[in-house]
């Protein structure tokens, strides 16, 4: 009896969570042929804040493009991969084989490398929104990876450091993805410019940085560059604050991805193109999200893809689509000037911002 009662309670609780289905895109009133834009994103789990921002960036692009006179009706299909390779493979296969997606959007280089061969086999377009990646050579002939180049990134960080008159910088990074190797190379570059630097990388399970902070403070390092994702980033910020490191002495890459953006008030934040202030406000109000990290990059990629589909003869001819993208990838983007490099990587600007009362304030790019 108790078991059945518990079961009933659980079913009722789940039923109560269901919302009315909202139309994600405008209805296909003119009965146009449908093009499906698939996206494999971390919608739950550790990186869900960014995955959600990317999702709404893509939706905003579809919505804006739909205002024009288009040949096709664009539908978005989102699948959750929890940022795991195995789930990425099944989600991508579902998009390609069951949903018959015409393209797939992914996020971060590691995941992009799982999607790329699957997209190439299926002869469909794959676009990957990524952070700075020195070796972001697209895997697969039908893939484009977009993000700021390391050089662009380093130049912006150096500009910020110069403005704050930093001569000694302790760099702390997570040993995840390109964070550690990128930070090490940044440290080398800054050293070459005459700055004194110290670098340390940490495992994802490391959650106590106080000893390291105090160690470097004792050596006269009062400025910190950090590259972490939550929960490490939030814990580190709190521990920096506890050790009297003021926000304007903190330079963070990829850290401002929490829904509570007031955590980043006064901190120098880099990376993750959010777009213009108007775009940011629009996403926040329309989709009720607090964080729009990487949303602009997704907006740009989907916009480019839609332009390609609209301007080719045959949307199922991947060669035509690739040719169009290669011709038009260099253009003005929401993420600054987008430029297609020789290796197929689309470079956009790096972003430098801070936060005031939880709202992003742009300082440069």
């Amino acid at each position: 009896m108790k078991k059945w009662l518990l079961t009933l309670c659980m079913v009722l609780a789940l039923a109560a969570c269901k919302e009315e289905k909202k139309e994600e895109t405008q209805a296909n009133a003119d009965n146009k042929p449908v093009i499906k834009i698939g996206a494999v994103l971390p919608l739950t789990g550790d990186n869900s804040v960014v995955g959600t921002a990317v999702k709404f960036g893509a939706l905003a692009a579809i919505e804006d493009k739909a205002k024009g006179n288009l040949k096709y009706h664009y539908e978005a299909v989102f699948e959750d991969n929890q940022q795991q390779p195995a789930k990425t493979a099944t989600a991508t296969n579902k998009l390609i084989m069951m949903d018959k997606a015409n393209m797939v959007l992914s996020f971060t280089t590691g995941i992009g490398r799982v999607v790329a061969p699957l997209a190439e086999n299926a002869k469909i377009l794959h676009m990957c929104s990524t952070l700075e990646d020195e070796n972001a050579t697209p895997m697969g002939k039908t893939s484009f990876f977009q993000g700021p180049t390391l050089q662009t990134y380093r130049q912006l960080v150096f500009k910020a450091l110069q403005q704050e008159k930093v001569s000694k910088l302790a760099l702390l990074a997570a040993n995840v993805g390109v964070a550690c190797s990128g930070t090490e190379k940044l440290a080398e570059a800054l050293k070459a410019k005459g700055m004194e630097t110290k670098v340390e990388c940490f495992n994802p399970s490391d959650l106590d940085f106080r000893f390291v902070i105090q160690k470097y403070q004792a050596q006269g390092f009062n400025h910190f560059y950090i590259q972490f994702w939550p929960p490490q980033s939030n814990i580190l910020l709190r521990q920096l604050s506890e050790n009297n490191v003021t926000p304007n002495h903190i330079f963070g890459s990829g850290i401002d991805v929490d829904t509570d953006t007031s955590l980043y008030n006064g901190i120098h934040c880099f990376g993750g193109n959010s777009g213009t202030p108007e775009f940011i406000n629009r996403l926040m109000e329309e989709y009720h999200i607090n964080n729009v990290y990487m949303a602009a990059s997704a907006y740009d990629l989907i916009s480019l893809a839609i332009d390609a589909f609209e301007n080719v003869e045959d949307v199922n001819n991947i060669d035509e689509i690739l040719a169009y993208i290669k011709a038009y990838a260099t253009r003005k983007c929401l993420s600054g000037d987008c430029k297609l490099l020789n290796n197929g990587f689309i470079a956009n600007k790096a972003e430098w911002r801070t936060y005031k009362d939880g709202k992003p304030v742009f300082l440069g790019d």
């Binding site: 079961t7 789940l14 909202k22 390779p85 099944t90 579902k94 590691g110 061969p117």
Partner: protein
Amino acid sequence: MEYLINLAILFGIYSMLALSLNMLIGMGGLVSLAQAAFYGIGAYATAIGMTSLGFGFFTTIILGIIINAVIAFVVGKILARFQGDYYAIVSAGLSIIVFSILQNWKSVTHGPLGIFGIGKPEIGSYAFYSNTAFLGLVAVFTVALYVLYQWINKSSFGRVLKALREDEKLTQSMGYKTKHYKSVIFVLSAALSGIAGAFFASYIAFIDPSSFQLKEGIFLFTIIIVGGLSSALGSIVGALILISLPEVLRFIGLPYETAAQLQQMIYGAMLLLMMIFKPQGLFGKYRM
């Protein structure tokens, strides 16, 4: 159909993992959370072997088996000093250590950047490029592991394992050197999970340490709990449920704003219901 074939490949890989883990936990009563470590070692043996050393896929399987067997033999001796919950905790520590090595030994494993471009198996001039062919190969190995499991289960070796999981002292009194039995099953389980790792690496064609963390070991443990301890059929069914359930949930028409979150909730609720109504798992033959 292609989608189902891809899903079946993953199901096959996780069936192999579940069978190897059930030999250890279900039959031997050794609650180990280190399975993901051996899974990862097997995957990296294939990734490095194929991309850097130019070995063929099947050669890398043997390489992975040997590496796993050696590590498991040494680690098994240390783990043998612990019982019950302590065994699980120490084995979890091994999982964390292996992950740290994979994450930080960048010159060999490329750290968090991972290894990409891992090739497909070849026999002579035939390459298993198509998913159907790859699935066929996975199926052959899965069936072989199933047969091996049943062999061990029916053998005197299996009987001794099932006895020592409940009462090691009593089993010793019947003339069995139980430490050796525990060592053998630990090594065997590690070696077999390395085979699954090899297939995973080749199938996904890209691996990084994030796929082989402690939580993967916990996921594998969940598979055999749901399917049932000490049951080969339970291992297969558990893998089928836990691999396919999240995929089935993708096809339920949930509102897009909350689809992913609701899928997780439904998944969790279904697992909970299964454990409420079938605490021993669906086909379990052993209660811990």
